[in-house]
Symmetry: C2
Subunit: 319 residues, 2 copies
């Protein structure tokens, strides 16, 4: 017999909160929380739809991870510290095995970052997962997209493009969800860059996470900052997992791959050494790929000469 | 040509915020907000799925209204003052007429209650609408489900069952969405009881909103409070819109009708006169339907004798 709605919540989504600032969690009409005094509240929400944001057949634990991770990545991009999450889960039926795996994936990531699940909604419908995350940042230290100036360096963290390569392995049938291929593991379990985001407080002049592709997202950052951007294609970071790809494929994955939680940000040039050192100490490499320039849009150069790069960021309703 | 994702947000969901506590609204990775000092943060989220929470063909403006109203009703049930909302909208395509109507319905209700839309997500997928609402309440004054004691009166606001009657008019084909029938209008545009919720601060010993049917929801309140409830069926409020129904139909609609935003709460008997007076001054009638008793569950009486009433509250995964 399928579980009822209230049994689903009681059995899978009512783990005890690890936080003292939760006055009332799952189970009443709303959650009651104690905001951190003097801090700005940071709130993000993202929705994952089966067949669009994750492939049919994706392990439930990976969906639970991703639904929270994509939101934590938004908080990382603000320099924020996450605190609480809410989950809205629409699903065709209440399959206990699926729910247990989903909850395990979500709670494992939540616990690593001290996040308490404090409420939500469970309804029957198509498989659509919405998570909201709330957190804090000192108001003046919040990282926005709009503060980059001409001359600022453009930095990207880690190894963009690897999750997109993993997705292509799965889509092509060359790998299964159970594969130990590093690209597939990264696609299913990419980690949001929360520690890096906090380290950038007071240093990054603008920041965002790379969710729709590096090139398209850099265009958004440049537009929000009312300046242009210029990047050197030779300087793009190419992860070991992409070493075997032809150059054009490497560039395509790094510039246009989505499902990434790397941070893209700008810095005054004299801050780069210090921030790179801090990041490396935390196990995160940084790469300077160019600088902000006068004008608008993103210019790509190879050997100092301007080149045209096809493709745009991901748009859900593009025809 | 259909609108792109970012055009949808810019065109329909970026109206200027009426609030000074929004540091950064729609358009960055997350919203930045200033919590009210000394208040508890109250957070609720609800999801509406086409064909489940609203009928196919429902006017978009009514869906926009309902998606926000169901959340504001949760805040009303906590005695909270709403401040901000986020919207996650999954929809098959970006139909401009639909979006404009949806946004009108949502913003009209938001503006009546001083709520700013500060962020969200727009994706392509089945029509699923999730709204999250954030607000404030003095921590000690928050209304919970769990504080009712033996002897407390059980009170319900307004006219429960009218929206459910409106839904049945639509489902049966006796009325259309354009109908001026008062039951249909109430179903499409029920108003959350925010003023009443705030008036109950410091008086209601327990409270919730009636979303899954009065009888089932009273059972939840009794269980959360670890006491029983006893109601007299003769005392149920019957709205003028239901006057023409047979008695059994009136009781069915009032006891089991969902899609209601009435408040169900308990009070010490000596507070009822004062609260009823306050509520009537605000245009909201109150009805005492029984009292909390020792034991568990909900007992229904007619002419003082116990009767069995069939039916339960709504459960999304009930077989």
């Amino acid at each position: 017999m399928p579980l009822g709605e209230f049994d689903v919540i009681a059995r899978y989504f009512s783990r005890n909160s690890p936080r003292g600032d939760v006055l009332l969690g799952v189970g009443d009409d709303a959650a009651l929380l104690t905001p951190a005094p003097g801090q700005a509240l940071v709130v993000a929400t993202d929705t994952l739809v089966e067949g669009r944001h994750f492939l049919a057949g994706t392990p439930a634990s990976a969906i639970g991870h991703q639904a929270l991770a994509v939101n934590l990545s938004d908080l990382a991009a603000m320099g924020a510290e996450p605190a609480w999450a809410l989950l809205s889960l629409s699903m065709p039926q209440s399959d206990e095995r699926w729910l247990a795996d989903f909850a395990d994936g979500l709670y494992a990531l939540a616990e690593r970052h001290g996040v308490a699940l404090v409420g939500g909604d469970t309804v029957s419908g198509p498989l659509v997962v919405t998570v909201e995350v709330l957190g804090f940042v000192p108001p003046a230290a919040a990282l926005r997209r709009s503060g980059a100036s001409v001359g600022d360096l453009i930095i990207v963290s880690g190894a963009p493009g690897v999750p997109a390569a993993g997705l292509e392995e799965l889509q092509s049938g060359r790998a299964t969800f159970a594969s130990q291929d590093a690209r597939v593991r990264r696609f299913l379990r990419a980690e949001p860059r929360l520690a890096l985001g906090r380290a950038l407080r007071g240093f990054a002049t603008a920041a965002m996470d790379v969710s729709d592709g590096l090139l398209g997202d850099l265009g958004k950052l440049a537009r929000a900052s009312s300046v242009g951007a210029c990047i050197d294609l030779e300087r793009l970071p190419v992860a070991p997992e992409l070493a075997g790809y032809p150059l054009a494929e490497q560039e395509r994955l790094v510039l246009h791959g989505g499902d990434d939680y790397e941070l893209l940000f700008t810095l005054r040039a004299n801050h780069f050494g210090r921030i790179a050192h801090l990041a490396e100490a935390g196990g995160c490499s940084l790469r300077c790929i160019g600088s902000m320039v006068q004008g608008e849009g993103v210019e790509c150069r190879r050997a100092g000469a301007r080149v045209n790069v096809a493709g745009q960021g991901y748009d859900h309703f593009a025809s």
